[in-house]
């Protein structure tokens, strides 16, 4: 199934430029397009071949590597070859492996934050429905959902980094310094987590309110359980199911690149790579990141399915 999805995604990538009548080779060469260079790049990219051959070559390259040649120049791309960018003269795979940890760190760190704060705010709001707390929390959540990341991101940069000078907020690789990495990641985490915490708070609140109306919650109370136990043990477990689905999807998508967050904080992750690639019309990078994204989404969904079974015994048997 995975293979099919990826193939479809890819065929689209190869087809769209053709339909749109865009000369990919020319866009690679740039404005100073010499016909000879367009031809050579076209040869290197195999643009003259039929689509299925291009797709096949791409996938074959992942396993056995590829050799691009044209204009008297030969470019080797070792396996796993996820394509080669003729703009930045780099194989895509190293770009992906170089940038993936940044994005993963961003997504996971932010996820921890937004789960903690989103769930807490959502549950409290559900329990204190209609109170000042609830309204306040939901207004903040609405703000979180509505405010664009580049706004909250810049605001937090202006406040904490330039203004108060608490954090340098520059990316430092984890391998260089843990505290440096932490310092650089905190603001992106908070910014990204704010958006998602807001969404999660709203979903948690709605789900929680629905669950609290379930018969089995009444049963739990009828047993004489303390309200806290009813909420934690009985209501929360059910509330987690839709949250988990969302988490899987969101993490998968974020791994494809938290484009805005990475751009705002100049984090060298996949999102930044893909944005630069779009700016530079660097199709192979876009392709590579897309592949990773679709993989990440699929894997995330797989993990969610497994976790589902852990949470919900009905799924286990089905």
């Amino acid at each position: 199934m995975l293979v099919v999805i990826v193939m479809v995604v890819f065929s689209i990538f190869f087809l769209i430029p053709k339909w749109a009548g865009v000369d990919i080779a020319a866009s690679f060469v740039g404005k100073q397009a010499d016909p000879a260079s367009i031809k050579a790049v076209g040869e290197k990219l195999g643009l003259g071949d039929p689509i299925y051959a291009q797709v096949w070559e791409f996938f074959r390259g992942i396993f056995v590597g590829r050799t691009y040649s044209g204009g008297g120049d030969v470019t080797e791309c070792a396996a796993p070859c996820f394509g080669y960018s003729f703009r930045s003269e780099q194989a895509i795979w190293p770009v992906l492996t170089d940038r993936f940890p940044v994005t993963l760190g961003l997504a996971l760190g932010a996820a921890v934050l937004w789960l903690i704060f989103g769930l807490a705010a959502g549950v409290l709001s559900a329990l204190k429905r209609g109170t000042l707390w609830d309204r306040g929390a939901m207004i903040v959540a609405l703000a979180g959902v509505s405010l664009p990341i580049y706004f909250t991101g810049l605001l937090s940069l202006a406040a904490f980094s330039y203004g108060l000078g608490w954090l340098d907020a520059q990316y430092v690789p984890l391998s260089d310094s843990f505290t440096g990495w932490l310092g650089g990641m905190i603001l992106p985490w908070i910014t990204l987590a704010f958006l998602y915490a807001a969404m999660y708070a709203r979903i948690t609140r709605a789900t929680m309110m629905e669950i609290l109306g379930e018969d089995y919650i009444r049963t739990a109370r009828a047993k004489g359980l303390r309200e806290g136990v009813v909420i934690r043990k009985h209501a929360m477990r059910s509330t987690m199911t839709p949250i988990l689905t969302m988490l899987g999807m969101d993490l998968g998508a974020l791994i494809g690149g938290a484009i805005l967050t990475e751009t705002t904080f100049s984090l060298p992750g996949l999102g930044q790579a893909v944005l630069n690639a779009i700016k530079n019309q660097d199709l192979p990078v876009i392709l590579g990141v897309t592949l990773i994204t679709s993989l990440a989404v699929l894997i995330a969904n797989l993990v969610v399915d497994v976790l589902y079974a852990v949470i919900d015994p009905r799924v286990r048997l089905a």
Binding site: V29, K31, D34, S37, G71, D73, L275, N276
Partner: protein, 598 residues
């Protein structure tokens, strides 16, 4: 010459914002505590202290890390492939040429001085043969000497456009206009040095034989694309990832879009290089994806200067003007921003209708739309950028654009309309790039002032990434009735040929990617360009440039808006800072030093 270009040096010119207008007054006065030329408490040299002059030259120390920040990576760091202005400027750290731009502030920086060569060219009387002798002690980063063959091979790479696309191709067009040579990668000769136009009788001598004289040839040799490349170190398309250094610094690490670090090339000898001072020990570039973040960090002192040198972003500009004026320079960028009237679109075939627009426009409000006198630039009065030899700047103002007709002369415009046979005015369309808010603002300003003289205009915002096919296609321009096109242009190298030939020479009109938007077909202008190419004397060349500029201005093909200015930031750590016309008003990177090595 047959130099063909489809675009000027590509630069990202950031949008100016109205915010700055509020700060203009303070900026213009320049007299506040932070702005005095004597420097301020934080050590900044003062407002405009490095504009066309050297600031704090004596404070430069050997050592330290010079930190660039950039929102954009170079198109390529391969000397043959780079076309961005900052790349040319930066490449002097790791690459030398036979001749290069003088390391002098302002106009003098546009002059050419010997680098690898012992002296500027010995030119034959017919202007077709250029001979250079190489210096002693010039070496590659592995200690081997740089030979004339390395220079020839480096230049030959320009012919390999199929592999090494992207860079300027002037040399190819001047030395081999018939395109007989296939480039070194398809060269059948054993030494791969088959280009006939360049001869290397010995390792120290190199001779260029031009089929046709071109007086700007030495300017072209000063371009980065004329750098030597050693054949055994040529990694072809991947050369830009790690160019083999001939300059004082070499690549330590480069990760595209993330960072670049240069360290000292220990094999480079100071006494072999009359140009480069090589103050810092290390030079780094950190790439940002958020221009505002970059500016904030620049202003905070985390970095020394912006690699792109194309003005602070509007937000950073207002902060810097308020709090760090002493760290700013306001140089002329080399760009002229203008409106141009395609003669194929009626009634712009009639020069009086063109002049009606020129007189009718409110030039002050156009300047304000561009960002005002500081962020935008001085009101443009003619089409030749002030840094180009032969330019007269605002002194030449045939239409009184910066003078009596500054805010528009309705009476004069109506007079011209009558002469054009359209006393009631007419209707036309302005074409403007949709991705340049400032250009849209100028279009709106123009629309408003033309209404007063009875010229009604529609504004058509087209996809700014598709200029070559939209406004670069004369057929399309005619079809869309684009009577007014808003554009800008800057020189690749400071000469009337490097700037104006694609715009004004009738032989440069193209079906696609055309830059002669006005479709000027003036035999006398074409003839002046030919004469220019044959003229070797600098004073005479300047005279011809002036003459060409006058012809263009008199024809009324253009309405210039501004001689563009940048507002660039230099950190208080920098010493020996100056802007250079050789790099369109950027700071001359190669001789920047730090006041403290910490």
């Amino acid at each position: 010459m047959t130099t063909q270009r489809t675009s000027g040096r590509r630069k990202q010119v950031l949008a100016a914002a109205a915010v700055v207008a509020a700060l203009l007054t303070t900026a213009a006065c320049g007299g506040d505590s932070d702005g005095g030329n004597g420097g301020s408490k934080n050590g900044a040299a003062g407002f405009d202290a490095a504009n066309n002059k050297v600031a704090q030259a004596d404070q430069a120390k050997k050592g330290g890390e010079l930190k660039f920040a950039s929102a954009q990576d170079a198109d390529s760091w391969d000397t043959t492939r780079g076309y961005y202005g900052f790349m040319w400027n930066f490449s002097r750290y790791y690459s030398r040429q036979l001749v290069t731009n003088a390391t002098e502030p302002g106009k003098a920086g546009a002059g050419v001085v010997p680098d690898l060569a012992t002296a500027t060219a010995k030119v034959s009387d017919d202007g077709k043969t250029y001979t250079y002798t190489l210096r002693d002690g010039i070496t590659w980063e592995d200690g081997k000497p740089i030979t004339s063959k390395d220079v020839k091979y480096g230049i030959e790479r320009v012919w390999a456009q199929d592999v090494l696309s992207g860079g300027p191709t002037y040399l190819k067009e001047v030395l081999d206009p018939e395109a007989t040579y296939q480039g070194p990668y398809k060269d059948k000769s054993a030494d791969k040095l088959g280009l006939k136009a360049i001869e290397t009788p010995d390792d120290k001598t190199i001779v260029f034989k031009l089929p046709k004289a071109n007086s700007d040839f030495e300017e072209m040799l000063a371009l980065t694309s004329a750098s030597p490349v050693r054949q055994d170190k040529d990694t072809k398309s991947k050369y830009g990832l790690h160019p083999f250094s001939s300059g004082p610094y070499k690549f330590q690490s480069y990760s595209p879009g993330k960072d670049l670090v240069l360290v000292r090339n220990t094999e480079w000898k100071q006494d072999s290089d009359p140009v480069r001072k090589a103050y810092p020990d290390k030079i780094s570039i950190k790439f940002f994806s958020n221009a505002n973040d970059l500016d904030s960090r620049l202003i905070a002192g985390d970095y020394d200067l912006d690699l792109a040198q194309t003005s602070l972003s509007p937000q950073g500009r207002s902060t810097a003007l308020k709090e760090h004026k002493g760290n700013l320079d306001n140089p002329v960028s080399g760009y002229v921003r203008y409106a141009v009237f395609p003669q194929s679109v009626k009634p712009f075939d009639n020069e009086h209708c063109r002049k009606a627009v020129i007189y009718g426009a409110d030039h002050v409000s156009l300047q304000t739309a561009r960002g005002g006198p500081v962020a935008g630039g001085d009101i443009g009065t003619n089409m030749l950028p002030p840094g180009v030899p032969g330019a007269e700047g605002q002194k030449y103002d045939p239409y009184g654009i910066a003078g009596e007709n500054k805010t528009g002369n309705v009476a004069k415009a109506k007079e011209e309309l009558k002469a054009c046979g359209k006393p009631e005015g007419f209707k036309t369309t302005i074409a403007v790039r949709n991705n340049k808010p400032v250009e849209v603002a100028t279009a709106e300003s123009l629309q408003a002032s033309l209404k007063k003289v009875g010229i009604t205009v529609d504004i058509d915002q087209y996809d700014g990434s598709q200029t070559a096919g939209i406004i670069g296609s004369p057929a399309n321009v005619k079809k869309k009735n684009y009577g007014i096109i808003i554009m800008g242009w800057g020189p690749d190298f400071p000469s009337v040929q490097g700037y104006g030939q694609p715009l004004w020479d009738s032989r440069f009109i193209l079906e696609s990617g055309n830059n002669n938007y006005a479709l000027i077909k003036d035999k006398s202008i074409d003839g002046l360009f030919d004469e220019y190419a044959k003229t070797l004397d600098d004073a005479d060349k300047a005279k011809i440039a002036t003459e060409i500029n006058h012809k263009v201005s008199e024809g009324g093909y253009y309405l210039p808006f501004v001689f563009e200015k940048f507002l660039n930031f230099r950190s208080s750590r920098l010493a020996n800072v100056y802007t250079s016309d050789g790099y369109s008003g950027m700071y001359d990177f190669v001789n920047l030093g730090l006041k403290s090595t910490k």
